[in-house]
Subunit: 336 residues, 4 copies
């Protein structure tokens, strides 16, 4: 951390600042110039509140240089984290295929899709029971009933299940769910993150629509600091000025996140683009740039889906995408 002092900073206040910093066990060195004085802080600055420093009247600017996260930080944990979900391993060179309908609609729909994606090669079944919808008048999901249907589909196909939690009061319903998803709109629902930190369940954490990569990793850090190291990061598009696609898929986030952290990083091309015809090319791109997996929406009858049909693939189309993705994975493995 580096602190730029105002010109003519009062000596007494500076003295007080130095003492405060040293009390936090960081060492401070001063560089004095004609018009500027810089304080360089060395040590663990994670717990220094940058905003408190900003508020001091002798301080002109503060820049953080060290990352504010520890447990998620690749620097202190160089090896990839591998998360086990039943027999499935996520991260560490594995490539995980997560697929299923946006919303769970009925037992028949879910089982048809579950069988279809399993046959295509999927490792996990996704499906929304609790659905975050912009409009209060839109279909809100089957809720508890939806989770029951997911567990039935798991029993039938053997696929572990991933489904989204929308509020921590729902947690008891998730006891048999294999992976709990935290949606983009809840990425900074800190009470929920803290509570999930006290479980041991794998958490699939989606990036918020306007979250920087650092904020994304800080939300993972919330879960990890509570004692749960099993966090899977999911890039799903950010909000920009572009309207041709629903969001802007930020694929450079994949190699950046893998450098910042040791956590697995998967990509959701369905929500990112909102367009079924972009799912295949963006899946190939995600596989090519090093993602650890893909979460794709698949529906047996996209035209009559109760939600997000325009971005869903049929099981047949999904099987094609999987073939392509696996070919690219093999190819990139041979490159490295």
């Amino acid at each position: 951390m580096v602190i730029l002092l105002k010109e003519n900073a009062e000596a007494k206040k500076l003295q007080k600042l130095m003492e405060m910093l040293e009390a936090k066990n960081v060492s401070v060195k001063m560089t004095e110039g004609q018009h500027q004085t810089i304080l360089g802080l060395v040590g663990d600055t994670t717990e220094i509140d940058i905003e408190q420093l900003h508020a001091l009247d002798i301080v002109e600017d503060v820049k953080r240089i060290q990352e504010p996260y520890k447990r998620a930080n690749r620097k202190f944990h160089p090896l990839d984290t591998v998360i086990k979900v039943g027999d499935v391993a996520i991260g560490g060179g594995n490539f995980t295929l997560i697929a299923g309908p946006c919303s769970v609609e009925s037992s028949e729909q879910l089982c048809t899709v579950a069988r279809g994606v399993k046959e295509a090669g999927a490792h996990l079944l996704r499906g929304g029971a609790f659905k975050p919808r912009t409009s209060p008048y839109a279909f809100q999901g089957l809720r508890g009933e939806g989770i029951k249907l997911l567990l039935e589909a798991k029993a039938e196909t053997g696929l572990p299940i991933v489904t989204e939690i929308m509020d921590l009061s729902q947690l008891p319903l998730f006891s048999e769910v294999d992976v709990i998803q935290v949606g983009a709109r809840n990425m900074q629902n800190f009470e929920l993150l803290k509570e999930l930190g006290h479980t041991k369940k794998p958490i699939l954490l989606k990036r918020g629509l306007s979250s920087t990569l650092q904020e994304f990793v800080m939300s993972a850090e919330y879960i990890m600091s509570g004692g749960n190291p099993n966090v899977i990061l999911c890039e799903r598009g950010i909000r920009t000025f572009e309207t041709a696609t629903r969001n802007t898929l930020d694929l450079s986030a994949v190699p950046m996140l893998k450098q910042m952290t040791h956590l697995p990083v998967v990509v959701d091309p369905s929500h990112a683009t909102g367009l079924a015809k972009l799912v295949a090319p963006m899946s190939y791109a995600a596989a090519a740039c090093g993602a650890d997996g893909l979460m794709i929406e698949v529906h047996n009858d996209p035209q009559h889906a109760l939600c997000d049909g325009s971005q869903s693939l049929t099981p047949e189309a999904y099987a094609q995408v999987v073939k392509g993705v696996m070919a690219i994975r093999e190819c990139t493995a041979s490159i490295e």
Copy 2:
């Protein structure tokens, strides 16, 4: 709503679509051209799911023309909503001053600030008990204890209090709170919004960092559709590429929201800019463009605030801002 059909749309599928639409009580007129056919839908389209239409293979594009909100819509409720909080009226030509510290830190701090802002003319006291912080290592607020201190300050000064809820499990603690704030990060926490719709408490709803005005109003609609009409909208800056200010205060949102809805609209210049020295000019600007009130952070000792000190005013500086704002209000009242 307008539906553009693909060229050579199959007659049978079109027939089915027409029937589906008419079943929803909208009337449909078709405009046929050489290469394009347009369906114009007239009637209440609020409950038609635009995404389901998008998914149909005979549909090329769908554009919504009617607003997807009803209860918040100025068209169906031309008069301003006025919300009563004790003796304070918000909206309908009143100008409401909300002020207080970012975080409640201690009884002494809170009471000092409460007395200061009351003397300066504030109508409501704000203060954070539950604090959403990006880092799990930062101060998280006094929580339940903070609410007690707020109630004490209310008892002492007579100022009604506004404080933020972060999770619906905290709701029982808010029984004596006058106005419940929903923070920017929770603007689309739909479970929380639904629950707040079942209370009668005034809700101060902050705009999400990357939320469009329509999404903002849809979140108000969630609360209102549950039966609670008492929603106050708060513009507090959006996330853009600009980094000179913490967020970008979108003041044109004020007249736009007042045209879209009948709800009161207040502005928070402290969080929007993150800089104490911008609070005065942006407060004046907010008053000049028609805001119904201001929420401003005030701290007796900004340099030692536990949170957001760099954007807080002292009570003395706040009193100056209030004077300026009231002068501008008087001036704009004379213009109209």
Copy 3:
């Protein structure tokens, strides 16, 4: 400027870096920690290329602390710049009203509008002769003929004129133009900026749609470093995800720019919002937060304007806005 070195930076390379920096007349102090070494640079770092430092393999990160602009910098030029255009003074406490049609369409249209805005109190007449249009099929302006009509309107009304240059080859046509406007899309047309730096004409420089305030000031610095100190900055909205308004007017840019630089700052609410009904409230807000003037589109017949009619005011509506703005100016003058 602060340089963070990589752990285990090679001593020989570090030595070379230190020499290179000292050759640029900055003094360097080193802060060494267990895992980090920070170099603090003090002195004039304007001419150090931050990207070259980034490329060095012993460097982990570089942060600029000093502003990269000199001539536009308020620190080195504390007094407001006042720009004279005929009898009109811009900046330094004056409030300048610039108004006129988006496009010059005909002698009659222009003179009608010019007379109208003069009567309402405008100090300068604006009108587009060269028009930047997104579509090649849209009206491109009267070009040279438009400038002639502007000069005629100036002769008739005595109002100095402001009009946009789109390419430096057009410069000879601007010899009698009073203020040359550089449009948002040309804010980083550096060849044009350099050439305008060699004239003595006042330049009205509009902020680019995705330009940070620092980049904006750097473009002013281009003109100023060529020898022309007469730059007027114009905030006209930035591009964000919000689509309810054409752009997002960033009014906090006004006090920020006035703190960063000594140049006058005017606001264009017409292009920023794209909506005539938002022009009045945003004009009042701009005046309230310290802008030095307003540029507003006025058309005698907005419904038949060849360009941007939906954001134009009639001369009568403009006269109302001027009255309101002047009242607010008087009011804010009494506050300070």
Copy 4:
């Protein structure tokens, strides 16, 4: 195009609007509801100015449904455009490798890099002679001398050259240049685009930092409507709130643009990310999602490059990237 009328639109004004529209050879059908009337326009609406319609006081809203571009439109030109540059074919299933230094610095530097990239498999040599730099104090390029050096490098290696034009006055210097690049900041320099439309040179058009895909294609339409069909589109990252990468590479733009237009689409991962270590993964991703080529910065000594060294690869690293990219291209060819 669809026009929503205001309630109670005056019959006479509506009559006038209908006549005006029919005069433009579009046919109009009206859909009347209780509170709304919709006009559906069918035919070629390219030359109808949407803003003029917006300004009419009987109009509430206007939505364009047909694309506003013709020559660039895939609908009217289903086959891929293939652009020939000497022996190199761009588009139509070919994959074009463009590489070279950000700035031309010296004959030796350029020839070393040119030989290196040719050996690695590059088809075209890029190098900046005229350099757009944010700061007037940064290196501005060798300008005319730089073009001479590029032509020498072409003579030596046989590689056709690509270099950026910054102003139309520089056009005479480009007579022997093979492909003229228009930079992101000039994407809407319409005077320049028009002039380039009168040449027959292939134009490599970079997407503006805040340009939508539709605006990007409209800029290509400017060049094409002047008579030059040889436009290559280049995605190079857009400006968003994310700061971990210099810009946000929008790879979903690749399949979207290829669907909207028949023009070749190449990707520049160097400028998009600003980080050398992201060039390989993002190149692989671009190849996987269907790009027609890559433009990559290569420098013999990135640490001493005069510009953008931190994003440049060495010729050796570039050769590795090319190998990977070609393997992925082969793989994706087998998928389709």
